[in-house]
């Protein structure tokens, strides 16, 4: 659910400034500070899914600053690491700034060593130097050892940023060379004889098909060098305090009530406050009382043609339907959801949730890492489908893509669903939740048995739990709301226009009649519910909002509401998600997934209708 990235122009003549570093070391915040532009910042590894770039003046020189995905190694094993490595290799004339956590100097220097081995000129930026447990590091001594500029900064408190800018445009190439054990050097020599560089040979020796003994030797030698540097530049180490809250969040017993409490708080904040109080206020007190009557009067006064009046303020009007749905019903829900999600992201809870749910996910042929795209799916399934790239194997990526499209409602849709469930009470919520969770586990379990392939390793870093900063949450909510408005409102208007023309040409009635055996017969819903399913393909939340309006109008009884909610939750994802599925998994797989989901969603809906009646 990061911001849409600015597309990089490979032919751009401006010199690039690449920010590289491990996940969760503050690259995105440094990017924001250098460029005054916002890149999603979280206490959550893997936020930067796409490459974000912006032009900025750095110490009097124009640079295209590029925020790269977090990487732990230059011997890439994941999609993100490959992207960063390729960018580094391709941008030979770029200035590179390695951003590292000063509190985790060992890991920072392990990556520095690999940059040195790749013969890359760079500046080392040691971020988070304001934290109370930041160790005392003799920066000049470290710069002498490495032979490159080193700057200690705090992006959060804006410490030393001018110094960083000064050094960022004057990077240096280090002369440090690490000598490995004899067997490793022989293997490097063999590979170099075949035309590889020393750095590429080392990367190959750390890759999937290589010998684990040589990989172990390489790791050991690098750690020896790094530990020697640290011993010489760090006078005292301050161990990080015990992370009691973090430990409780993933405790096998206490973790469960904490998870339930988080879910309950989410339901109270998004479902009750956002979707209840706020929606009621915006829809009833603003739109129904002022906006729609005024717009109707104005349009009737200005527009001579009935056709145009209907287009704007009719039953399928751009103002009375599209804008009312987008601004009055979905926007308050989305804002509260983004606030909650921002707090969860910044607190560091999400990786702990991955640990908590790892065993459950393993039964579905996945591992805890899949929790991250699934939780991101609660924000936006389209972005989450892109983040399935963080999973190591194709099998895992396919399973998560199916589960996202099938059982994970996006933030806007979830908000509307919560609002509808809020009116029905606990039993309805349990039925909806039970069917959805059962679907996820059943389909995940079966897919893991049917699909060929292997499962990836579960190795996840747990960032320290932090108190989220209000300013960061506000910026994040604003940026994401802007993104939502830009992306959703045009599609809402397009959807309304489609409905309007279908209605004008009486095709809507034909469609409703054609779908009647399914919608009315099998699902037991009113015929106009077909509109919601048709339009749900444009945007999931739009479809749900249609059902919400029907429920508020008294057109759906509680049982019908549960059936309709379950079907719209499971039903085919929005068109954007479908297109991303085609891009990521291929046309055949995407069509197969969509076909399966359609049959499954209506099948479960019909079954639920039979059971509840």
């Amino acid at each position: 659910m990061s911001q849409p990235a600015i597309v990089l122009d490979p032919d751009a003549p401006t010199r690039k400034l690449l920010l590289v570093g491990q996940p969760n070391v503050g690259k995105s915040l440094i990017f924001t500070r250098l460029t005054q532009r916002y890149a999603t910042v979280s206490n959550y590894p893997g936020t930067t899914v796409e490459i974000t770039s912006a032009m900025a003046e750095i110490h009097g020189e124009l640079r295209e600053v590029v925020d790269t995905p977090g990487t732990n190694t230059l011997a890439p094993q994941s999609f993100e690491e490959r992207v960063t490595r390729d960018l580094l290799v391709a941008s030979t004339d770029a200035d590179v700034v390695q951003v590292g956590d000063i509190g985790n100097l060992r890991r920072t220097l392990l990556l520095s060593l690999q940059l040195i081995e790749h013969d890359i000129a760079f500046t080392l930026c040691l971020n988070m130097s304001d934290e109370p447990n930041a160790p005392a590091v003799r920066i000049e001594a470290l710069a002498d050892h490495l032979g490159i500029p080193v700057v200690a900064v705090s992006a959060l408190r804006r410490w030393n940023l001018e110094k960083l800018k000064r050094h960022a445009v004057r990077p240096a190439r280090s002369a440090v060379v690490v000598r490995y054990a004899k067997a490793v050097e022989e293997a490097i020599a063999f590979l170099r004889a075949g035309g590889m560089s020393r750095a590429d040979a080392l990367s190959a020796l750390c890759g999937g098909e290589a010998s684990p003994e040589l990989a172990a030797e390489i790791a050991k030698s690098r750690l020896i060098v790094v530990d020697e540097w640290i011993a010489e530049v760090m006078s005292e180490t301050r161990p990080r305090g015990k992370d009691r809250i973090g430990a409780l969040c993933m405790h096998r017993i206490w973790g469960v009530p904490i998870l339930l409490a988080v879910l309950y708080a989410a339901w109270l904040f998004v479902g009750k406050f956002g979707a209840g109080t706020l929606v009621d206020f915006v829809e009833t007190s603003i739109f129904e009382a002022y906006v729609n009557p005024w717009a109707t009067r104005l349009v009737n006064f200005v527009m001579p043609l009935q056709f145009l009046r209907d287009l704007l303020v009719g039953p399928y009007g751009v103002i009375t339907m599209a804008l009312t749905y987008a601004i009055a019903i979905v926007l308050p829900v989305v804002i509260t959801f983004f606030t909650l999600f921002g707090i969860l992201e910044d607190s560091g809870y999400l990786p702990r949730l991955a640990v908590m749910l790892h065993r459950t996910f393993r039964r579905m042929g996945l591992n805890g890492k899949a929790v991250l795209p699934m939780v991101l799916g609660l924000g936006c399934d389209t972005m989450a489908t892109l983040t399935t790239r963080v999973l190591e194997t194709k099998k895992e990526r396919v399973i998560v893509t199916i589960l996202l499209a099938l059982g994970i409602p996006c933030s806007a849709q979830l908000g509307v669903i919560m609002a509808m469930l809020g009116r029905l009470g606990g039993t309805a919520t349990m039925i909806w939740l039970g069917v959805t969770l059962l679907t996820i586990f059943l389909v995940g379990f079966l897919a893991s048995k049917v699909l060929p392939g292997e499962n990836g390793d579960f190795i996840v870093e747990l960032p320290p739990m932090r108190m989220p900063r209000l300013s960061n949450i506000l910026i994040k909510v604003l940026a994401r709301t802007e993104w939502y408005l830009k992306e959703a409102v045009p599609l809402f208007i397009l959807g309304t226009l489609v409905l309007y023309f279908l209605d004008l040409t009486h095709l809507l009635a034909v469609l409703q009649r054609a779908l009647a055996p399914l919608v009315v017969g099998a699902l037991g819903l009113p015929a106009e519910a077909a509109n919601a399913f048709v339009i749900g393909f444009l945007r999931r939340d739009y479809g749900a909002a249609g059902l919400f309006a029907m429920q508020r109008g008294g057109a759906l009884d509680p049982k019908q509401t549960i059936v309709a909610l379950t079907v719209i939750t499971l039903f085919v994802p929005c068109v954007a998600n479908f297109l991303v599925m085609v891009r990521e998994r291929g046309k055949r797989a995407a069509l197969a997934i969509a076909g399966f989901i359609t049959v499954y969603a209506f099948g479960i809906g019909a079954l639920l209708n039979m059971v509840l009646r």
């Binding site: 190694t73 985790n104 890759g207 990786p351 190795i459 320290p464």
Partner: protein
């Protein structure tokens, strides 16, 4: 199948039956070969429940022993002796977090996943991965 006699504590394998007993086949009673005490064989579900309630205690280790990190008691620190994996990719992935031979690690949790503190990082790994990380015990554990 191995059993532990609840009366005398003897470990034994295989349920011994009296040849004269009419229920010799298909009965769920187990008899201790040492004290002849008979007890009911517990089912899979009960075993699972018991394991969940009474976590398997960490193996006792003497100083200098090399054991999988998962066998350390929670909270214990040790240095990594070697990583017995067949995958260079897994080795490199662990190394990128600083987990390699010679590094000091502390076991923070065994459940729901193995959580290791290494330097300033906390890393959660699967049981399978944790079983491959062998550490040299620096302090004897009970």
């Amino acid at each position: 199948m191995t059993y532990e006699c609840p009366l005398c504590g003897t470990d034994f394998t295989g349920a011994e039956c009296r040849p004269s007993c009419p229920m010799a086949r298909g009965c769920s009673m187990v008899r201790c070969p040492r004290c002849n005490y008979e007890f009911v064989e517990s089912g899979r579900f009960v075993d699972m429940l018991r394991r969940w309630i009474r976590r398997a205690p960490a193996a006792s280790c003497a100083k200098g022993d090399v054991v999988p990190v998962a066998d350390l008691p929670v909270g214990a620190a040790a240095s990594i002796a070697h990583i017995a994996t067949l995958s260079a990719a897994r080795m490199s992935r662990l190394a990128s977090y600083g987990i390699a031979a010679g590094s000091e690690v502390r076991l923070l949790a065994r459940r729901p996943a193995i959580v290791l503190a290494c330097g300033a990082s906390s890393i959660a790994v699967d049981d399978d991965v944790g079983r491959e990380i062998y550490v040299r015990v620096s302090q004897p554990t009970a």
